[in-house]
Symmetry: C2
Subunit: 255 residues, 2 copies
């Protein structure tokens, strides 16, 4: 492995926070690298278009994420055939129920949101497309967790630490196991205010032609969206959308 590459690429993560722009000194202070080293890493990243140099004045020079990342990110997005198949169904569902719709997949020992379709509602739920999330937080990740093979699931549970994000986060491993059990029995997953307080999520499995669960279709909205009448409507429409995506992936529904 090549350490300077890893150092350079890790620098990019510093730009994913609230600060869109960082100066050489900013980064030097945060990392344990010398200023000339950081200087050269930044120069190399800029040369490749991964960063852009912004001159506010002669000695206020900052960097921000470059358009090369937009290019590569879009290529990745276009190549996710699952996303391509699911997107029209997600948009249709959004138009029907007017809530945020997410598509979540497994990525190693994490869950990754690969697509988001916004509703016209003012409730903002910040999900970052492409970023990994722990498997035990949120209905989508947990649904995927529940449908993993028993052994990998147990391996992960034993290795993982359950950090609470809000007071509604599951922090007990036996509680988690029974919850995953419930999900498999029910065929869907629900979460209440685990990531952001006041938001609820419900997720349904998306299966491919082998019958394997390859993604979770997640609907997010205000906790109040489980009003009588509306709840069953959302459930029905969402389940339908997930099933349609599965069908488009070649899944023959039975059982």
């Amino acid at each position: 492995m090549n350490q300077s590459i890893i150092n350079a690429l890790n620098l990019l993560d510093l730009f994913t926070g609230d600060q869109h722009e960082l100066s050489l000194s900013d980064i030097h202070k945060v990392t344990d690298m010398s200023k000339p080293t950081v200087y050269r890493l930044l120069a190399s990243l800029e040369f490749c278009g991964f960063l852009i140099k912004v001159k506010h004045s002669d000695q206020d020079i900052r960097y921000r994420l470059g358009l090369k990342l937009l290019e590569l990110g879009n290529i990745v997005s276009e190549r996710l055939e699952l996303r391509r198949v699911a997107l029209p169904h997600m948009e249709k569902l959004r138009d029907e129920i007017n809530e945020i719709v997410h598509l979540v997949i497994i990525n190693g020992d994490q869950a990754t949101y690969i697509e988001k379709v916004e509703s016209s509602q003012p409730i903002r739920l910040y999900t970052r497309i492409g970023r990994g999330s722990p498997l035990y937080i949120g209905s989508g990740p947990r649904l995927l967790f529940a449908y993993m093979s028993r052994e990998t699931r147990e391996n992960l549970i034993q290795k993982m630490k359950l950090y609470p994000l809000t007071n509604n986060t599951i922090t007990d491993k036996t509680e988690l196991r029974t919850e995953l059990e419930n999900i498999r029995r029910q065929g869907y997953a629900i979460s209440y205010g685990e990531q952001n307080m006041g938001t609820t999520g419900i997720s349904f499995p998306v299966k491919d032609f082998t019958g394997e669960v390859v993604a979770a279709l997640t609907i997010n909205g205000p906790s109040s969206f489980f009003e009588p009448g509306r709840e069953s409507f959302i459930r029905e429409k969402s389940k339908g959308a997930a099933d349609h995506i599965s069908q488009d992936l070649g899944y023959k529904n039975q059982e």
Copy 2:
């Protein structure tokens, strides 16, 4: 500058072609680097999530672009405030005229398509979001070119080489100059089958609160979309959308 970083990041470009997956040997053959070197570069990129290792069998191991790029690309996309402002107008325009709508900006000495809204029409126009395009090809880039300051424009023209992409590409510098002159007089730009044969583009300027042209709103469609009646309809609606975006950016229309 750090050579291994540049080597590693350039490797990623190999994955932007038709081949989604490449093996160590594939890359070794294309580049002039030794196999162990490539091996370590790939390992480092994989470690950071920029590549994913796909094991087809024990000795058929390939790499593909990783989800980390999706994350970073999405952040870049979210942070382009211009895009955020323009997107709703672009979608509305698409719904009205049902043609592909693009948003193009200047990125150094190139033009970059930063957003695309697809029409329901079967005509496929392959634009890669985030990738740089030469300034003299296509109505969007050329519109931006026309509205650059006279000196930077002339500098670029003198330095640039005009390679023909199709037989409709402008290849003469004086011809280019008069075309840019026309665009500034008319206030919009048109191109006929320059990137893909049989497709036409028309672009209108988007201005910010300083009055500067910061983007081009481009409508692409089959060359036949300039039918009498429909042409003026598209022109009117597109011009209106571009002006609305400008207004949202704080541009006070006058003159």
